[in-house]
């Protein structure tokens, strides 16, 4: 078998890849679109993204920065009447220190997305790699990470973060890293490991061994690509978890963040307006609703993706 020059000249590989990627994307979109809940989720997420994008535009056009700044704004026309109920000038009213609630809501969307996505990406990258490694090597490595995951899951997550914030100020980036790392070594590792175990016993893994591939090559080229769809799915669920955690911590005022949905509710609570529940509804309902809705949306997208990843859930 001497390699001779073959006249065969294939199309450049990147072209093939792009073509195949588009094909796969179209098929997967069709499957995703079949489940209406996924579309609803995606719709809500797009709505929040639009809201996020609209804020800087509004600030530079119709909204006077001194009045509408989400952190330092104050409406002098309404002195003594804050928190003011919704009006034309303030569609969602103002908070107890005279800031525009709608502006706060829109501005915070950006940090919620940043936090949710960063934390989810970190946790899924960790979970995928650790899960694949545990499944492939087994033994002591597997034992160590699985027990770590058990510990992680049993440990009260929010309590741990509360303790940590007393040691160092929890900024948005730090919080995203912490949530990402902590949940990355937690339950997601177990789920992805079990998926990797089903991949590990496939004959193509043996074929790769016989081909002479090293353990890392096999993990990287064969195991990880085959558990990626599930990783992606859990990424969606993890965004929900991260946003939720942030809201809880901000509400209790444990975070070093200037503004977020959790902090909006916290402000209402601090100034004693949360007691009169229905009377000052614009102080808590928009933020609470936004948290619920965005978490819900990511969860729905996750469910929609589930149908793509998991053939058993498909209709037909």
């Amino acid at each position: 078998m001497t390699p001779t020059s073959s006249p065969f000249k294939p199309e450049p590989l990147w072209k093939v890849r792009v073509h195949l990627f588009l094909g796969a994307a179209r098929r997967n979109w069709a499957l995703f679109a079949e489940s209406k809940i996924g579309l609803v989720g995606l719709g809500i997420i797009v709505l929040f993204l639009l809201m996020m994008a609209a804020h800087p535009i509004l600030m530079s056009t119709v909204w006077e920065p001194r009045v509408y700044d989400p952190v330092r704004g104050f409406d002098p026309r309404l002195v003594g009447r804050h928190p003011a109920p919704p009006s034309w000038a303030h569609p969602l009213g103002t908070d107890p220190i005279g800031r525009d609630v709608l502006s706060q809501l829109m501005w915070s969307a950006r940090s919620e997305f940043a936090l949710g996505v960063t934390a989810a990406v970190i946790s899924v990258v960790i979970g995928t790699i650790v899960g694949a490694v545990c499944a492939y090597f087994g033994g002591v490595v597997d034992m160590f990470f699985m027990r770590l995951a058990d510990l992680e899951m049993l440990f009260p997550f929010i309590a741990l973060l509360m303790v940590l914030q007393s040691v160092m100020p929890l900024t948005l980036i730090r919080l995203a890293l912490l949530i990402g790392v902590l949940s990355g070594f937690g339950g997601i590792t177990i789920i992805l490991k079990s998926q990797a175990l089903t991949v590990k016993v496939k004959p193509y893994i043996e074929a790769a061994k016989v081909a002479g591939g090293s353990s890392w090559q096999i993990i990287r080229r064969h195991i990880i690509p085959n558990i990626m769809p599930l990783s992606f799915l859990y990424m969606m669920f993890n965004v929900t978890g991260a946003i939720f955690t942030e809201a809880v911590l901000s509400f209790f005022g444990f975070l070093d963040i200037r503004m977020s949905w959790g902090i909006m509710i916290n402000t209402a609570q601090e100034s004693g307006y949360l007691g009169a529940f229905g009377q000052y509804w614009w102080l808590w309902a928009p933020a609470g609703g936004a948290i619920t809705l965005l978490c819900f949306a990511f969860y729905l997208v996750g469910r929609g993706l589930d149908a793509v990843v998991n053939p058993r859930l498909r209709k037909r």
Partner: protein, 360 residues
Amino acid sequence: MRPRAGSTAKGSGAQAAASLGESVLLQVWRLKKYFPVRKGVFRRTVGWVKAVDEVDLFIPKGETLGLVGESGCGKTTVSRTILRLIEPTSGQVLFRPRSKSLPPVVEVTKATKRVMKLLRREMQIIFQDPYSSLNPRMTVGAIIGEPLIVHRVARGQEVRNRVAELLEAVGLKPDHMRRYPHEFSGGQRQRIGIARALALGPQLVICDEPVSALDVSIQAQVLNLLEDLQDKFGLTYLFVAHDLSVVKHISDRVAVMYLGKVVELAETEELYTRPRHPYTEALLSAVPVPDPDYEAERILLQGDVPSPVNPPAGCRFHPRCSYAQAICSQETPGLQDCGGEHYAACHFASSLALRGVKVA
């Protein structure tokens, strides 16, 4: 020294096994694989599954050895152990590599990682299931090219040229390399698996039931392809199968396994026409004969295959053997040469008159 398989175990020490005839490519000597049976909280080992128990085999260069036996007799374990996909419990596997950077004869079971990687170029495997043996997320080109990239024997355009050649050699088109495995039929997928096995130009190819998962018309095509490739590239095959007619078609010699042991080993025609072991006779009687007037006299074996955790004493076949006598439950027969390189592990190998089948 070639008929090592004939050494009746006792007396022939480890040094005897280390010799390997010039023409022999692979020799398996007293190969054992016991899997632990674990129980309880502390995963205590309470017994051993004797999947492969002292198997002796050898394959001359360029030949095909058929390895047959019923499900669970250890055929697949033998093939995996030779490739070190499963680590053997004990025994030796001697291989004569072509590579100049290796000694003339390598003890595979003791090979280091580096040696093993070099050996991978010369020993390859074709899998039974053409569906799960190809990574669904890789293109055919990437699958076949993987061994070339891993061993750094080719890169870039060279890999694609080589893959194109291999695809043509197995009867597929070069532009199939851009497709994914799910776009192919079972037979085509098996051809892809064969191309992958041939990528590094191996000497020995272990065919682990390569046609069992295919339908009959495709089986013949793939078998013919394997024969053509053997002629073209001078391959040596260890052909594991449970279908006796397939094995008859492709093998030069056949080894019959029962419950982790080789019970008979002979040239194909010799084995089919004049079996020397009662188990072989029973197996052969189950082969369908394409003749409507033929009166089949099936030998129906009594009982089930005993558990390999606790195999019967003496000859492992004795509880189901119609010729069994007192000695069979007491002494384990070794493989004996019955003349003409026909080996059988039966106390009465030379005295029984057993019925074979006509070889077409």
